[in-house]
Amino acid sequence: MPELLSDPTTVDLFALAPELSVIVAALAILLVELFLPAERKRLVMLIGMAGVLVAIGFLIALAADIGGGSRAAFGNAFVVDQYALLFKGLFLGVAVFVLLLSYRYFSEFRTYQGEYYFLLLAAFVGMLLMPSARDLVMLFIALEIVSIPGFVMAGLRKFDLRSNEGALKFFIIGVLSVAVLLFGMSIVYGFTGTTDLVGIAVALEGAERAPLLLAAVLFVIVGFGFKVSAVPFHFWAPDTYQGSPVPVTAFLSVASKAAGFAGLLQVCFVAFAPLADVWAPVLGVIAVLTMTLGNLVAMQQTNMLRLLAYSSIAHAGYMLVPFGIVQPGNAALNSDAFSAVLVYLIAYAVMNMGAFAAVTAVTRAHPGRQVADYTGLGHRSPGLAGAMSVFLLSLGGVPPLVGLWAKFYIFIASVEAGTPFGLFLAAMVVINSVIAMFYYLAVVRTMWMDEPLSVEPIRPGFALGTAVGGLAFLTVGLFVAVDLFATSANLSTLVAGG
């Protein structure tokens, strides 16, 4: 295994360019913010936006450069391939929208703008690293770079007890799960003698299945399970979502979760692929529990953010379904499952981001964040309510919105598996989709069919309006291109690049 021994000190600046440009922007924000008068501080958002856009530019250049191949740095610990690029593109796209969401919110919030944008970009650096990480160490670092700024951002509303509390819960559960993850990683390292993902796979192939090793594999998966808020590692999510500033919640429920899935994909489909017959059923069961619990509890919520929190738990459940059908050695099936997760992730990012964008707009007029605040929104701000309806219906899976297509891929993959368990998973997705419609529809109904509380329209402002409109457009129109996502980055590129 020559690449195992490749020099870990090699650096490919071009391959690292997107990360570097975001880092530069983050540092620039910290610096510039010091010299701006209080009322102009919000402009640092533009620096962040510039950094993200430059990173997107580099991303495009990288995509053109690697073609079907890959570039690597730090030995083989950091790899840029099509898979990584797709995720990076997703993250940077989400970053653009999170920045748009944050602009008005934090400029009215008035404090810690520089810190917030710095932390946000720092977290995105971690995300950009995540899909490229092909080494346990690198994965761990990327995960922590995503998490640690998240803890701070969740507690950014310093004088709100709820925010404090949300941050604390997030922190404790996060740290605990990282500890478990690390414990697992250390044992895996001990068994395989390497931290390289492909190396681990090679070592696990045909190795004796010691119970301790299997437990360690589970520990590693649990670490990511926390990030994607799978049951029973989901407890922090509703409280933290409720307490955090809304843009941060959006970040947590979309970007952070996507990063978790990126890591989970790499760990499961590369490193632990030989043990798929062990972890797949467990993840399948977790998927069912996650979506069922998420949906059933979401139904009870009166707080909009908690509702979306449980909804996002449920969606994590859907996304875990393809993991449940993976079979060792069945390349075609695994590739389908892999694509299904990717497509769902992208769709989920678009529609959930949209929902949070709309919530951000409404929260400005109604800080209480109750579902009741949305009563008669359709009469007050038809555009906003229309967009929100599109997002919610898409989350519910109403065609031809993008949410349906995402579910569709999961259906196909799980039926494709042809096993009773696969069919069971498909059936659970079906049943859950119907259950989920209850609460999505309830919100839609409240928005359109109840008498409004006031006639005063809610104006989201330019940045937020652009975000809402753009995301609504994507939610409606993306179905034209779902195929592209499914085919552009399939499992083979990840495995080959690893």
């Binding site: 870990p8 922590e144 404090n164 500890a179 250390s186 044992i187 003698g193 509703p238 409280d239």
Partner: protein, 101 residues
């Protein structure tokens, strides 16, 4: 073989950490328990690093990373605890139950 001793030690350490996280009411003690868990990981990594003996000293390097990141984490954690203490004059973890269900 000698590796059994440090590994057992690490496992015990981890369990103590877990126990602490679950049972201590004082937030700082909880943070310390987390540190114990991370320490267990570090012991594990160093042991395995020596046992595997790979050329890159991955285990040891990994341990360093864990320590560094652990320090950062605890820093953030203490900051959050401080924040809570300032707002409600209590560092009891189970007082933080404003949001539930």
């Amino acid at each position: 073989m000698q590796a059994a001793y440090p590994l057992t030690f690490a496992a015990l350490l981890f369990c103590v950490g877990v126990y602490g996280v679950l049972s201590r009411r004082h937030a700082v003690l909880v943070l310390m328990s987390v540190e114990l868990m991370l320490a267990a990981v570090t012991v594990n990594l160093v042991t395995f690093g020596a046992m595997v003996g790979d050329a890159l000293y991955t285990g040891q390097v990994f341990a360093l990373f864990v320590m560094a990141v652990g320090a950062a984490e605890v820093g953030i954690g203490l900051a959050i605890v401080l924040l809570i203490y300032r707002n409600r004059a209590s560092v009891n973890i189970d007082d933080a139950d404003l949001m539930k269900y």
